[in-house]
């Protein structure tokens, strides 16, 4: 089976990305030597529990980690052949919003309440393109039209509080796409929205990807969203990548015990008939990032834990060509 996505050069490659936060109790590695490739034009899903570092990955790529306490300690972020970690703040500003955009989880608070939608949009356009106010305004209307906001020429005069959550998230997407970036990072774009709006927003993102050829990183904890919207998926646990595969392969044959557990926790219609009246859970809690053992971070919750899991850090092993897993069972 040939994969057209795989033939292209990755638009983004992370190599050993490590992001550290200093706390009073010690340094925390929110992201621990992460290697990841995003093929051009693909959608990569990053899943994991709260606090596993998935949002930190998004902010690290944008170099928006609040510093202090945070810091990108080491690693490379290679975007279109250029290492972002080596760029100055000024150079980063010309990439943010123009080549890489990010959509946040909270549409309700992501828009400046004192500016009209059109003012916010025009500002972003005029930051990256030398156009007149009038043209920027027209481009803003275009952008609103692209995210299917009805009567964009009227809604452009709205203040954020005059819009619903779904509408505001559409505006956020319009902001993200108005300069036609090559990469959009969507950090839980639908978590704050109700289910029907979720579906609309996700289909909108899919449409934009097709229309503009944008690559997307979709950060979420919702496996259903991953299954429907991504071609590649990375599973993170306690700051580390534990599994990376084609989405279909991951759901068909999850390799890492954590991923296996995750896939089983998804409720399915009709599950009761299969004599499975209770939903599966993964026992235990996410470990405290402040005192992680030397071995596999999942060892304490793992059903097939071995002696060396607790002592030694497992490496990433390659199974079936494109399926990567960090587990001693596959060593």
């Amino acid at each position: 089976m040939s994969d057209p996505v795989e033939d292209k050069k990755p638009v983004l490659s992370l190599r050993g990305l490590t992001t550290v936060f200093k706390t009073d109790l010690g340094a925390v590695k929110a992201v621990d030597s992460l290697d990841l490739d995003l093929p051009t034009g693909a959608t990569l899903g990053i899943v994991g529990e709260s606090g596993c570092g998935k949002s930190t990955v998004g902010l690290s790529i944008m170099k928006l980690i609040p510093e202090p306490p945070g810091r990108i300690a080491s690693g490379e972020i290679i975007f279109e052949g250029e290492d972002l970690t080596k760029l100055s703040n000024r150079q980063m500003r010309s990439i943010r919003g123009k080549k890489i955009s990010i959509i946040f989880q909270e549409p309700m608070t992501s828009l400046n309440p004192v500016l009209r939608i059109g003012e916010t949009l025009s500002e972003v356009i005029r930051t990256h393109q030398r156009v007149s106010r009038k043209l920027a305004w027209e481009k803003s209307i275009d952008a609103l039209d692209k995210v299917r906001i009805p009567s964009p020429h009227i809604r452009i005069n709205d203040y954020p509080h005059e819009m619903s959550g779904g509408m505001r998230q559409r505006v956020m997407i319009a902001l993200a796409i108005c300069c036609e970036p090559s990469l959009i990072i969507a950090d839980e774009p639908t978590t704050a929205l109700d289910v029907t709006i979720q579906a609309q927003i996700l289909s909108l993102l899919r449409g934009i990807k097709q229309a503009l050829g944008t690559s997307i990183i979709l950060i979420t904890h919702n496996l259903g969203v991953i299954a429907e919207n991504t071609e590649k998926v990375a599973v993170m646990y306690a700051g580390r990548l534990v599994e990376y595969a084609d989405t279909a392969a991951l759901f068909d044959s999850p390799l890492h015990p954590y991923t296996q557990g995750l896939v089983l926790t998804v409720p399915r219609l009709g599950a009761r008939k299969e004599k499975q009246s209770r939903l599966n859970v993964i026992p235990g809690l996410v470990p405290n990032l402040l005192n992680l053992g030397p071995g596999c971070h999942f060892a304490d919750r793992c059903t097939c834990v071995m002696d060396r899991c607790r002592r030694l850090k497992p490496d990433v092993h390659i199974c079936d060509e494109k399926h990567l897993v960090r587990c001693w069972r596959y060593a």
Partner: protein, 296 residues
Amino acid sequence: MMRDAADHKALLEAPRQTFRSLARRRFLRHRLALVGAVIVAAIVLMAVFAPWLAPHDPNHVNIMLAREGPSSGHFLGSDLVGRDVLSRLIYGSRVSLSVGLLAVGVYMAIGLILGCVAGYFGGWVDMMVSRMVDAVLSFPTLMLILVIVGLLGPSLFNIILVLGFLGWPEVARIVRGQTLAVREELYVLSSEAAGAPSSRILLKDILPNIMSPVIVNATFGVARAILIEAGLSFLGMGVQPPTASWGNMLNDAQSLSILETMPWMWVPPGLMIFIATISINFVGDGLRDALDPKLN
């Protein structure tokens, strides 16, 4: 689909409830603030149209008329050297208002810039500004004003300057605190993520969102500056005669005989100071309630 379209049409035709229209309505509901605003407006008009309103030249000395009580020619009587009290009262409003507005204007500008920069950039900039605030706030203000005015010479301009340079720390402190809070808002992060430079984040995202408490503080500041000017002029360290100010009109009333027998010389300016400051403070109260986003 049909219903959606109808909803949408209704939405577009509904009256807009912007923050500004809400604030305006809340302010208008505040009775005292409304009365205050009307009085303040009247005082402003009085100051602007003083030459047309004043029945006499405020500085015209007529010894023959000295210490005359109110009469049909001089509604509020005349002072020690026979100048018309009413005319001086009307011209005095110009001094009070210009001290109030300009001094506050000067220290708002300083306080806003320093507070924003300190709050947004943090680090050593914040450290410097905060220590400067502490230093200025730990001076005994009135003494400092008296010393500086004494050194520079008492004049309207110098008073404005001194009040301006002593008033900013409080504003800087408010602005810094607000900026620290607003800086954490997601829309600031969104702007950064869209590649906006710091200057625009400060001007478009932070400044407009911290203005409410600053405007309220400025209003109270105007009233306070008017009081300080009156106090200084009363002590003879303020606006110098023959220029009329409410404060230096009171200065004339320092003798017991005037206090006891010639109330027309000191009651009107005293009353004006009281009315002006309390009206402005009412307006400030009303603005505070109207602009409080928590009451939305």
